[in-house]
């Protein structure tokens, strides 16, 4: 097209030229220096005077001569260049002559100083525009913090005297402009002394007309030497912010709703300061991923911060059974359970230079959640026995956290990097729970019979402090691929928790009256737990390349952890007498060593690795009911060999194949190892097992993905199978008279799981309609030891014939379809349908085999009306069915919001939102595990309205499209 146009233009031009001077001509000349010496091999170009586009080029011969023959008549710019000389430019216009000889064309040398300093040393481009000489100052090396004056001193042809007066090419500079504008009045020193050199991208020195001449428009012939400083684009400081405030009336038995969120961000090329604040009582959650990125900026994501080296890829380290809240800033979508109030805010500061990167942040978040829950659990026991537990509870959780973080990265030199990371958290949490539980029993589907009830109030108060400091050092070598890394970590955790447990328990079928039940009838306890844990870690990694395509990788991990736990249970009805049977004191030292090695083949997209690690885990502890008593030692050593295989294969045409064999090790948590009973729910007692071994999970997985960017077709799939050795499983002992369940961890081998995933997406009509189909299946078996026990003469014994190993077989199939319609700018629709079927079979009681159905349908319609008015409507329909439990629940949720983007700059928005117009909201979940099925319904914030206003400095954009990633 363009070529055609050019051809046309040229034809036209040619015709015009032909009309004037219908002849062609020859242009010749000679490139010489100022002493008339020939400049051989100079580049000679003919440009169009209109736009400097090149029409022809050639080189001079060894006498410096050039000839262009058969040139179309017309005018040209002749440009002759030679290294080290100022390019010769001249406008050529031929008359009637057939040969135009320009004779010797003198090229002036560029001063050696300019050439050497500006071009060679500073590697700065040099622009010659008539009398303007322009340097790119960006690459002039001046120490950080230097002023423009220091920079100018470095420039050839510029002198600065003691008083800061500037002279350029011998003339005094009376004017310094910044981006062409006068800087702080007329004193040129103000600019040069105050501006930072690293803010400048270009320095231009030229002769400007005097102010007088500019004002009058009459050129008085006087020229002022002027220096113009051009600011770097990115140095121009920026700031942006957003504020949304919304409120809604009290209605529907809920109080006034509000949702306020705001953030502000200020940045320049090195620094970034951001603040965020949000509060709501609309179940809208805390920071979203987008908020998080705006908050953390350049430090949102850091690769290579994992200090616990291991097999590259999967199976990096070891998992401990800790359940502490994370140290990193939490990102939470809307938790649509119950009634949630959220408050969060923080400040983040980043300072990044090429060699040093610093990021610090403070973040506070608080969640207050009201949960009113109805729960039903159906548990299968030997002898066609069913245990039906109904539980209604009211719970108020309050959880507040202060987090601080620091990350410092320093490039020591081109080979060495140091990263220091420090994260800390102070957490305060309290929970108030009131619950009423009933346990019924039914044998062979006989009518249910009430066995036990429990009326419990729990009040928990917990204070936590956690700190983790890591230093990570990486060293590269001259030999490509050889590298070394070392890291050290110190972690401290201090938890103090206090639980006030008040419980009234009734046992309707108990005939044997004994101490245990008597003690359980009325509980009024104060349970104190304090934990102090110190952990020290050190890790080494060395990679050595060999035979070009191979890498030999060796790592060593060392960890030493000291735990001290004191748990005291006091009977408040008995003048705070310590209940020894429930109290515990222990000190555990864990020593962990792992040495591993792997060989990796890596070439042109095929990455294959195989490795083996040996690990030793030593638990050296002592415990007793009370720290004043003599402590009983407990010592365990676990040695394990861990193989690891990984495959990543990048195939032609966007096909990708991957696979792995990994072994994961689950170390028993210290709670699981202590042979002590813990009661928070009197009908469900937990106790530890000192003989517990680490669990091993072995997994093979293979996956394949394909994407065709031409047709927009994509396909992903994977299959996995995993099996467990010594899996840590919680065995159940159920008392036949009270139905109190006591769980204790045990090691069971033989649990298995197999599954697969498939996704296929394709356009029905390119860019307008896309359909996505996905399917998922999994099947597995797990084992649970189940016993029925009774008390005989004060001793618990297993009822003969009831000590069985239940095998649960689970099958799950999930199928879904997603439709995206984006036919026009003013209408988009997203719909999806999903069916999930779970089948569970229990060997302990075949009659209890269950099928659970969950159907989800969702439609999301966006409409754009004239005058910047938009409408978004979503309809979400979920249906939960379990016929065995007689459970059926349908939850249709209709949300809609109408919004108007205001103003020419489109920075503001007014929005009216209605949530759950049908007033049907309730949070439902179905779960099956071990030998039970459970359904749960939580009363949840239903119909409410919100009128909100948004101001965004960067402009408000209507969300017509889903933009999940970009």
């Amino acid at each position: 097209m363009r070529n055609l146009f050019l051809l046309g233009a040229l034809c036209l031009l040619t015709t015009v030229l032909h009309a004037q001077t219908p002849t062609r001509f020859t242009l010749q000349g000679r490139a010489v220096d100022t002493l008339n010496n020939a400049l051989p091999s100079s580049t000679v170009m003919l440009l169009s005077p209109k736009d400097s586009s090149m029409v022809n080029f050639g080189r001079t011969d060894d006498k410096g001569a050039f000839t262009f023959k058969n040139l179309r008549a017309g005018s040209y710019i002749l440009k002759v260049t030679f290294v080290g000389y100022i390019p010769y430019n001249a406008l050529i216009k031929n008359g009637d002559e057939a040969v135009l000889d320009l004779g010797g064309l003198k090229l002036k040398p560029i001063t050696r100083e300019l050439m050497e300093v500006v071009v060679r040393t500073a590697k700065a481009p040099l622009t010659i525009k008539g009398d303007t000489i322009e340097y790119n100052a960006a690459s002039f090396k001046v120490p950080p913090g230097s002023t423009v004056e220091d920079l100018l001193r470095k420039l050839p042809g510029v002198q600065i005297d003691q008083d800061g007066n500037i002279r350029a090419q011998g003339q005094a500079v009376n004017k310094v402009t910044v981006d062409g504008k006068q800087f702080f009045g007329s004193d040129p020193k103000l600019a040069t002394k105050n501006l930072q050199a690293d803010a400048i991208t270009k320095v231009q020195v030229f002769n400007d007309k005097t102010e007088q001449a500019k004002l009058t428009g009459i050129d008085d012939g006087k020229k002022e030497k002027t220096v113009n400083l051009q600011l770097k684009d990115e140095f121009k400081k920026g700031g942006f912010g957003k504020l949304t405030a919304g409120a809604g009336p009290a209605s529907n038995n809920v109080s006034t709703r509000y949702d306020v969120r705001g953030n502000y961000n200020k940045f320049d090329s090195k620094r970034q300061l951001s603040a965020v604040l949000l509060g709501n009582n609309t179940n809208q959650g805390g920071l979203s991923w987008n908020d998080y990125q705006d908050f953390r900026g350049s430090n949102s994501f850091n690769w290579n911060d994992d200090a616990d080296f291991g097999f590259s890829g999967s199976g990096r380290y070891i998992t401990f059974g800790d359940d502490n809240e994370s140290l990193s800033i939490p990102i939470s979508g809307g938790d649509n359970r119950g009634f949630t109030r959220n408050l969060a805010g923080g400040v983040n500061y980043n300072y990044d230079t090429k060699k040093t990167k610093l990021s610090t942040s403070y973040f506070f978040n608080q969640t207050i959640q009201d949960l009113a829950t109805l729960r039903k659990q159906d548990r299968s026991l030997p002898g066609a026995t069913q245990l039906i537990t109904r539980d209604s509870s009211i719970q108020l959780n309050r959880n507040a956290n202060h987090r601080i973080s620091l990350r410092f990265e320093k490039q020591l030199d081109t080979m060495q990097t140091l990263v220091v990371i420090s994260n800390g958290r102070v957490g305060i949490g309290n929970t108030n729970l009131a619950s009423f539980q009933r346990i019924n029993q039914s044998i062979s589907k006989s009518p249910e019979q009430l066995y036990s009830t429990s009326n419990t109030t729990n009040g928990t108060q917990a204070n936590q402090f956690a700190l983790a400091n890591t230093a990570l050092y990486r060293l590269k070598f001259k030999k490509k691929g050889r590298s070394f890394a070392a890291s050290a970590t110190y972690q401290l955790t201090n938890n103090d928790a206090d639980l006030l447990l008040k419980s009234r328990n009734d046992f309707y079928q108990a005939t044997t009256v004994n101490d245990m039940f008597r003690n359980l009838r009325n509980l009024n306890q104060d349970q104190n737990t304090s934990l102090l844990s110190n952990q020290y870690k050190a890790n080494l990694l060395y990679v050595e390349p060999f035979a070009k395509k191979f890498y030999w990788e060796t790592f060593y991990n060392f960890s030493l952890r000291f735990d001290e736990v004191e748990r005291g249970v006091f009977n408040l009805d008995d003048s705070r007498r310590r209940v020894d049977s429930l109290s515990l004191y222990y000190k555990n030292n864990y020593t962990y060593n792992r040495l591993g090695s792997s060989v990796r083949y890596s070439y042109k997209g095929l990455n294959l690795s195989a490795g083996l690690a040996g690990q030793s885990f030593v638990l050296d502890g002592k415990y007793n009911r009370d720290r004043s008593q003599e402590l009983i030692p407990i010592r365990r050593t676990y040695n394990t060999l861990i193989p690891n295989i990984g495959l990543n294969y990048d195939l032609k045409n966007n096909k990708y194949l991957y696979g792995s064999y990994t072994v994961g090790v689950q170390i028993p948590s210290s709670r699981d190892l202590q042979p002590v009973r813990t009661i928070t729910n009197p009908l469900y007692v937990t106790t530890g097992n000192p003989n517990l071994l680490p669990g091993l999970n072995k997994e093979v997985q293979v996956g394949f993905s394909y994407f065709n960017p031409g047709s927009f077709i994509n396909f992903w799939s994977n299959v996995f199978t995993s099996w467990n050795d010594n899996q840590i499983v919680y065995g159940q002992s159920v008392d036949t008279e009270t139905l109190i369940t006591t769980t204790s961890p045990e090691n069971i081998s033989g649990g298995r799981s197999t599954g697969g995933y498939l996704n296929f997406g394709f356009p029905l009509k390119k860019t307008k309609a896309t359909l996505n189909l996905n399917g998922q299946f999994s099947a597995g078996r797990s084992f649970t030891p189940i016993r029925q026990t009774r008390l005989v003469g004060g001793v618990t014994e297993v009822v003969p014939g009831t000590d069985i190993l239940n095998q649960t077989q689970n099958q799950n199939i999930n199928g879904g379809a997603r439709l995206e319609l984006t036919p026009k700018d003013w209408i988009t629709f997203y719909g999806n349908a999903n069916v999930n079927i779970t089948n569970a079979r229990y060997s302990v009681n075949v009659g209890q085999n269950q099928t659970i159905y969950t159907y989800t349908y969702r439609g999301d319609l966006n409409l754009k009306f004239p005058k910047d008015i938009y409408l978004n409507t979503t309809f979400n329909y979920r249906s939960y069915i379990n016929d065995q439990l007689g459970f059926r629940q349908q939850v249709p949720i209709l949300n809609t919001s109408l919004y108007h983007i205001i103003g020419k700059a489109k920075r503001a928005e007014v929005r009216l939102s209605a949530y759950d117009l049908l007033n049907r909201n309730v949070f439902v979940s179905q779960y099956n595990g071990q030998n039970y099925i459970q359904t749960e319904s939580i009363q949840t914030l239903a119909r409410h309205f919100l009128l909100s206003f948004t101001y965004n400095m960067r402009g408000v954009t209507a969300k017509m499209r889903r933009q999940d990633f970009y």
Binding site: K69, N70, V119, N265, Q293, K476, Y551, G605, L606, G710
Partner: protein, 251 residues
């Protein structure tokens, strides 16, 4: 256009010294600044663009790009990946490079590019096309050579192209699909710094015909016009689908 005229031009034969300066290999680094490219995506809001820019700032600074090389003689050139371009900087992980070999024959006025794009290997075989260059007034040093600035535009991708060509290597070759200047192109800047291709070293040595030979590659043969139409269509489609087209076509 000057292509039509080039035959009419009387070239003084280069001296012996010059002959040595017309064959060799250039090693380039090609750095793609994704966050800059994203700022050109019309479907993203200013907020999204700023987010991308700020969060990827440190990665952009560490972006060492990929290594490319250009073999050149006075009459031919071949541009492709350099040796270990498909390995991560600190080694240990390699990926597959999509097929990419670009050849120019200035004597026969032919160009042949093997390119994998949109999930297929294409062989673009056509007569040599060179853009209309505007010659600027700047000089700077690249890899030890004093280069002049030249500019043109790519009407298909709607990009400005800035090239810096060596004054004293009289070869019309260049990296990517760009050529046709009085000297060898040592630096290329696509769309005001979105992608930079900068020579790291120039080695002058004889280049054998073997080195310039195209490997046998299966692919669909298309013309330059077909290629342009395909790129144009993909860009339009991707923008309509709110996707960055340059994930699947070369910038």
């Amino acid at each position: 256009m000057y292509r039509l005229l080039i035959g009419l031009l009387l070239l003084s034969l280069p001296s012996l010294v010059m002959a040595q300066k017309t064959e060799g290999v250039v090693e380039y680094r090609r750095i793609t600044h994704w966050s800059k490219i994203y700022t050109r995506m019309t479907y993203l809001s200013q907020e999204q663009k700023d987010r991308i820019m700020l969060r990827s700032k440190n990665w952009e600074e560490d972006n060492k790009g990929e290594k490319m090389k250009l073999l050149f003689t006075p009459t031919q050139s071949l541009y492709t990946y350099s040796g270990d371009a498909s390995e991560s900087e600190d080694a240990g992980y390699s990926w597959r490079q999509s097929e990419l070999i670009m050849t120019r024959n200035f004597e026969k006025e032919r160009q042949m590019d093997i390119m994998e794009m949109l999930g297929k290997v294409y062989i673009v075989d056509d007569s040599l096309r060179t853009p209309t260059w505007k010659i600027g007034n700047q000089i700077k040093e690249v890899a030890g050579y004093i280069c002049m600035k030249a500019e043109t535009t790519d009407p298909i991708k709607n990009q400005t192209i800035t090239a810096w060509f060596a004054q004293d290597i009289p070869v019309s070759a260049g990296p990517e699909r760009v050529s046709g200047l009085p000297g060898l192109i040592l630096e290329l800047d696509l769309n005001d710094g979105d992608v930079e291709i900068i020579a790291q070293s120039v080695t002058l040595r004889p280049v054998t015909a073997e080195e310039l030979k195209l490997p046998k590659t299966k692919g669909k043969k298309i013309t330059e016009a077909d290629y342009n139409a395909m790129v144009k269509k993909k860009i339009a489609e991707s923008i309509a689908a709110h996707e960055n087209p340059y994930w699947s076509i070369r910038y």
